[in-house]
Symmetry: C2
């Protein structure tokens, strides 16, 4: 071992010992008679101090030849520091070197290896191996490892078996786009990379495995958004002989265990909200309930006056921002601009200030007198000092826009503390949603999700009304996990594929193995999958999952460090029986 | 939960309790007045006993309607058995059912769900979900899970960080064939699936991660042999600031920990053998040292007589099979046939029996008298009762053939007990091997392996003589893991690529990121990877790794259960910018 100790472990108790530490030169200060080297490794920083007059010329020469990020090994005696530092764990000691060996030199890094680096996103991604040296990045990945350990610990104790499912599987048209892999041994045929191990974990249940989990890479060939990666990691779980209640209990247990063991945060038992309520009160199937500010519907209160906008609207709905009555005209204009942004799409914003003196002043005073506005305040349960914000229009669009405004107000009012965690379940999702483009029903969760038994009759008559035994776990307005009780009966599964527009032949050729499996004694089962990257970023108090992935890809799906994807040799293509055929104009 | 207990946990202490168990009907015996159901789940088998005269008609009717592999739930009272069974853990009790609910019916499985099944390999793979219900298969996967847990436990304790490396990486021509993935967002470009995370783990070392591991899927598009899978799992590890000695100690520690914790077997400290000795004494770089039977070279002893075969041979070499002097003519003929098989390729076998009476009788008595044969015996250190077996010919081929014969004799003499484990290191591998076909040097391990410092000068003059800091761990003649100390210097790495026939441009375009990384302060580092599937099969006492993989592929790389690979839609190909181009004749 090229060290006896790490750069993070020497303490006052080591004084007098001869040690060897190795690491990177974080910095050097040369005051002539005294020369300090800060030596860094994964575990910390240790100060190496040279009194140049008492040291050999050779040692001093080596020390003066060092640059930032040189890799060196230092052997010497641990000494008590004259002026101690309480900023670092090794701040009581320093090393008086007897020998410094340069293990490798370093050219100047393209950005500083500091928590607050001067490197932009692109350059840090190109030199990710240098970015990884930064404390903040490494800590994220240490957190990720800890999360994985605690996840496994919790599930192992409950008799879950970690089983690896295959990565080279079969392409299916349902869901997002698959990445495919041409087969050389079976030319003209392709494997697909799994979007999730869904069918395999169900087959494990059919195979009697009872409780399965896996922390597993999944793949989606989607046009990427800032927070999506083409490959991502799931905590994937499935249980047999259970009902929805059992899954909810088991996995809120997991998340509470993670919060306790990783962050020492006590999370109370999770509350549950139906999808219908989530949409009604928050306009959103993953509401951030760190703060209240529920939607209040106002059709009954505001319609029938001279204000055409409200009269014509399918829905008038608002929120009450506590204590925001003193918002300035400028702030209110900002909010109006916010809701009118194309991605939010409201046509305007109506507000009413409930002033501290009891008067109410609105942007539509022309149409609503004080008495009318008092009725608004009553509906909102507003108090003097509050600000009422109203949107109007098409029901679905307006709810969506108000949800954005609610989150914006939550942020502005400091109600979304990233160190506070509000976890809850959203349950009773619809089984199906109608897609206008493809002109057919799509599975809201996936085609294997079981309808609620009491709603099965509606499948024939009113499919959109059928609720599913499906559930999402939401933390701070982020969907961290979702799952469902599965269909485990061949006929119901066939009916489901029929509703989704599969012909019998397609259903058989793509999912025949699963439906056949259901004939051989499939147990009732259900499961859940957590987005592990997202969960880690949430625990780390960050917004961007990329910071919690060692080697992420950029928004074009490109790894700029290794420069991939990249062209391959014609011989490789020939062996695979494929050729490039790129349209001249996109 | 659709059960209060599993089918494996009820004991005499539960007698009198009302319980619910769920599972599969393993079998039914109906004696008229008494009816027994064996109910099976992952945890065991519980007997359900119905006295038909005391039970309701409804209950008896349901019980009589059950078939094998039906999924049922049974609620009833735990009773002490009249005739106990010590064959199963629940053999003291039975359940007197109050209610039996059929959760799912089952058609007759295509093979019996028993340890000794009547199903052949093909049918079991097609219905793998039923195969998984068999105790023996499930136990293999439970062992695998246990191995993973203990691996992580050991490495976590030593401060290794589990870091996920990407699956969508870049194709490189060195090594085996890559699976590739066409990129839709970057048409004409491809990702490759990793054959190992080699470069990424090295970059983690450059990034200061110090100690890395991962239990990770890797991929090789090879023509498959019986014991190879296109996707396989590695325990992949890397350490910085180490020398070879540190890696050997750390990872023999891992394997000894696995043996102790998983199998309660104490493995002594591992012995080490150089590659040169392995080839000299065993003709094999992964010798099975559960038994001795070392090679004895006989050129000096046997040459110069009238026997042309020996005189013309580059090498005459043999083994001494203890106690096999009484082998019959038929047995000796079998051995001769064995070594003459094309895949072994010897031209013949010479033997000499050292009889119990002290005489020696050989198959070449015409050329060697008793006195000469005594010299043989002396060379072999043979005793009366032993059998000497000699091969002759080209040096390399003869060693290889004798290695096969040695293993065959080990098997025949019962010296290869699968419950005995002989683990050791083979070290000092050559850095390079010459490939006649491509007419150039190939890396024996991989291009990142460091030559031994004292041999570096030979790189210019005699590359074949350069030894590497590379090592394999061998258990019972199986290479379970291998690794090396890596090059961490840009110039040496560039020289290595040069030796391997890379142009500067190719080296830069394919591995530039790694060589550049070496300029920014790369620490000395090295690592190892274990074949996890193989390690599990070895621990499980089996030959075939497929039995330790939940959903394996067959020898054509096909998953016959889901029928993959399979054709994909033309629209998918179009989006990817590729077209099929399959040659009419292969």
């Amino acid at each position: 071992m090229l060290r006896s100790h790490t750069c993070g472990e020497l303490r006052i108790t080591h004084v007098g010992q001869v040690v060897t530490v190795s690491g990177w030169v974080q910095g050097i200060r040369d005051k002539g008679s005294l020369l300090w080297i800060d030596l860094r490794d994964r575990y910390g920083i240790t100060q190496v101090t040279i009194e140049t007059e008492n040291a050999s010329k050779e040692l001093v020469d080596i020390a003066r030849s060092l640059g930032r990020e040189f890799v060196i090994s230092v052997t010497g005696k641990v000494a008590e520091r004259y002026s101690k530092s309480d900023k670092i764990a090794t701040g009581d000691i320093e090393i008086t070197p007897e020998k410094i060996a340069i293990l490798n030199s370093a050219i100047t890094p393209p950005f500083t290896i500091e928590d607050d680096t001067d490197g932009g996103d692109d350059i840090r991604m190109k030199y990710r191996y240098l970015d990884l040296r930064r404390n903040s990045v490494r800590k994220n990945l240490e957190l990720r490892h800890r999360m994985a350990i605690e996840t496994r610990l919790y599930l192992d104790k409950l008799n879950f078996l970690e089983v690896e499912t295959p990565v080279l599987i079969k392409s299916t048209p349902e869901g997002a786009r698959d990445f495919v892999v041409p087969s050389r041994m079976n030319q003209g045929e392709f494997y697909a990379l799994p979007q999730s191990p869904q069918t395999f974990k169900q087959l494990l249940m059919v195979g009697g495995f009872d409780r399965y989990y896996q922390i597993v890479k999944c793949f989606r060939d989607e046009d990427l958004r800032a927070d999506r990666q083409p490959e991502f990691t799931q905590i994937d779980c499935e249980m047999a002989f259970v009902e929805q209640e059992d899954i909810l209990n088991t996995f809120e247990g997991l998340v509470r265990h993670l919060f306790k063991s990783v962050k020492n945060v006590d999370i109370p038992e999770l509350t549950r909200m139906t999808y219908a309520d989530a949409m009604k009160y928050y306009g959103n199937d993953k509401p951030d309930i760190r703060f209240e500010m529920k939607f209040v519907e106002l059709n009954d209160v505001v319609k029938g006056k001279e204000f055409k906008v409200f009269n014509d609207a399918g829905l008038v709905v608002g929120i009450c921002a506590k204590g925001a009555a003193e918002y300035t005209r400028k702030q209110l204009d900002e909010l109006t601009e916010f809701v009118k942004r194309p991605q939010i799409g409201a046509t305007g914003l109506v507000y009413a200030r409930y002033n501290a003196d009891g008067t109410i002043k609105s942007s539509v005073d022309k149409f609503y007198n004080e008495e009318e506005l008092k009725k608004w305040a009553l509906a909102f349960n507003a108090q003097p000092g509050d600000l009422m914000l109203l949107l109007a229009g098409d029901e679905n669009k307006t709810r969506k826009a108000l949800s954005e405004l609610r989150l914006e107000m939550g942020t502005r009012l400091g109600l979304r503390d990233k160190n506070k965690f509000a976890c809850h379940w959203v349950i009773d999702f619809p089984l199906l949603e109608y897609n206008e483009e493809s002109n057919r029903w799509h599975a809201m969760h996936h085609p294997f999700t079981s309808p609620k038994p009491e709603d099965i009759a509606l499948l024939e008559t009113d499919p959109g009304k059928v609720r599913a035994n499906a559930y999402d776990m939401v933390i701070n307005g982020v969907e961290v996990g979702g799952g469902s009780i599965r269909i485990f009966n061949k006929e119901l599964q066939a009916k489901m594929f029929g509703l989704l527009g599969f012909t019998k032949e397609d259903a058989q050729s793509q999912f025949g193995f699963l439906m056949n499996a259901f004939e051989f004694g499939a147990p009732p089962h259900g499961g859940i999958a957590f987005g592990f990257d997202r969960l880690c970023s949430l625990f780390g108090g960050a917004e961007v999952i990329r910071d919690f992935i060692a080697f992420p890809k950029n928004n074009s799906g490109r790894d700029v460090m290794i420069d991939s994807p990249s062209p391959i040799a014609k011989e490789q293509l020939d062996e695979l029986g494929v050729a490039l055929q790129i349209p001249a104009v996109k």
